[in-house]
């Protein structure tokens, strides 16, 4: 009889503990992704520095090359995967690192630049991409006239938004080189719950080019 009582007490104690553990596991499993997304939203909203996840196993070259341009100003060509600028768009509260290269690994860490586009500061089309649920969450909120500032170790470059366009992911044209100084920023559009072929791009013209002495 006392043994039965003991067992009964154990059951009485273990049942809620087990139920609690199961419930905690379910909540953790279901809440992990929304929590991560919410954290990203919060970081972007408050312009906090986004935690950088280390990309394991990939060893990037870290050599930079400095060169003097014809007009005497100096530019630093980044190595692949290097953070070499900061993008600031006040109107949507964004401040994010700009990385040279746009692989899926790099896209987790910042705003990524297509390597076939112009280095920041050189004439041409500077093409930047980022995820629609993190860094470029509010890209679509930019209005014509809003400014975007790219700051590098060698200069500061200010752009003004001129237009917003939509295109399919099979259309490469917005990534092609241009003769004018412009900034093209794009992200996914139309489906926040999964992959989409639709892209939203914001095109800006260069309004101020300032190389450091």
């Amino acid at each position: 009889m006392p043994e039965n009582k003991k067992k009964g007490k154990a059951v009485l104690f273990l049942t809620p503990v087990t139920v609690l553990a199961v419930c905690a596991a379910i909540i953790t499993a279901m809440g992990y992704m929304p929590f991560k997304k919410a954290m990203n939203y919060t970081n972007v909203l408050f312009s906090a520095e986004i935690p950088h996840e280390e990309v394991s196993e990939i060893k990037y070259d870290t050599k930079e090359v400095e060169e003097e341009l014809d007009d005497g100003s100096k530019i630093v060509y980044p190595s692949f995967g290097a953070e070499y600028a900061t993008l600031k768009i006040e109107s949507i509260g964004l401040e994010a690192p700009v990385i040279w290269g746009d692989t899926s690994d790099l896209l987790q860490n910042g705003v990524c630049q297509y390597t076939g586009s112009a280095y920041i500061g050189l004439t041409g089309n500077v093409v930047l991409a980022a995820h629609c649920n993190t860094f470029f969450l509010d890209l679509g909120e930019m209005k014509p006239g809003d400014t975007a500032v790219l700051t590098t170790s060698y200069g500061e470059f200010t752009y003004r938004m001129t237009e917003q366009v939509f295109f399919k992911d099979t259309n490469n044209e917005y990534l092609y080189p241009t003769d004018d100084d412009r900034l093209t920023m794009y992200t996914c559009y139309g489906n926040l719950l999964g992959p989409t072929e639709d892209r939203l791009a914001v095109i800006c013209e260069l309004v101020e080019k300032k190389f450091y002495e």
Binding site: V22, A25, K59, A118, G124
Partner: protein, 240 residues
């Protein structure tokens, strides 16, 4: 046909400058860029090469090897031209009757424009525009095998100059090229074909850190299930 002749002649003109017009002086990165343009390669890939050569310096012999590789790619491009215009008896006949054109004359051809076309295109001369049109046509009409052949040429050239180049097919006529130095450092990862990045939510969900969390949750759920079963059996026994 006349337009095609202009295109071929324009490519030839640039190729002559790129391949035939190189003097005895040391070969430079600019010569490689000119050779790439002459090989009928799209501007965006030429820009990738140009950016790569700005950040990575090579010697004159290595630049020569790159130009040799690009000459072979040009031959592949010309094969595409031959296939695309099968009526031509010889590719050489296109060069006859080229009227030439003013290089100061910028193109105003907007027939290809639609609502998804950039509003400001590069201010290309007519010759440059025809070369780009041709390069686009070459890329559009290249078979997967021809693309792989051209890519193999890039890989072989990479080996000669001390770079380890690997290519992964990511879709139909879509590839990702990874360039590493001899120490295994990644120097470039470049898309070929489909250039627009995947910027949706999907890539975030592929984050590897979700896997251990999922494993732990599954283990806890399984343990919970087993525990519940054991408890229910015990409860039944106590009840009896």
């Amino acid at each position: 046909m006349k337009r095609l002749k202009r295109i071929i002649a324009a490519i030839t003109a640039v190729s002559f400058i790129a391949f035939g017009g190189i003097s005895a002086s040391a070969t430079t990165a600019d010569d490689v860029i000119a050779a790439a343009r002459g090989a009928g390669i799209l501007d965006t890939y030429v820009a990738q090469l140009e950016n790569f050569l700005r950040a990575n310096k090579f010697n004159s012999d290595q630049y020569d090897m790159m130009i040799d590789g690009l000459a072979n790619i040009r031959n592949i491009s010309m094969d595409v031209v031959r296939q695309y215009f099968p009526d031509a008896e010889s590719i050489d006949e296109f060069f006859v009757g080229y009227e030439g054109g003013s290089s100061d004359d910028t193109t105003d051809d907007s027939s290809d424009s639609d609502n998804t076309t950039p509003t400001t295109k590069p201010n290309l001369t007519k010759d440059e525009q025809t070369i780009q049109d041709m390069a686009q046509q070459i890329q559009d009409n290249m078979t997967n095998e021809q693309m792989l052949e051209a890519i193999q040429e890039v890989i072989d050239t990479g080996k000669k100059i001390g770079l380890d180049i690997t290519v992964e097919q990511t879709g139909d006529k879509s590839f990702t090229m990874t360039v590493k130095d001899k120490d295994g450092n990644v120097k470039l990862v470049a898309p070929i074909g489909k250039l627009v990045s995947t910027t949706g939510v999907e890539a975030q969900q592929q984050d590897g850190s979700f896997v251990p969390v999922a494993v732990i949750c599954t283990a806890v759920l399984a343990a919970g299930g087993i525990g519940a079963y054991v408890l229910s059996r015990k409860n039944r026994r106590i009840g009896e």
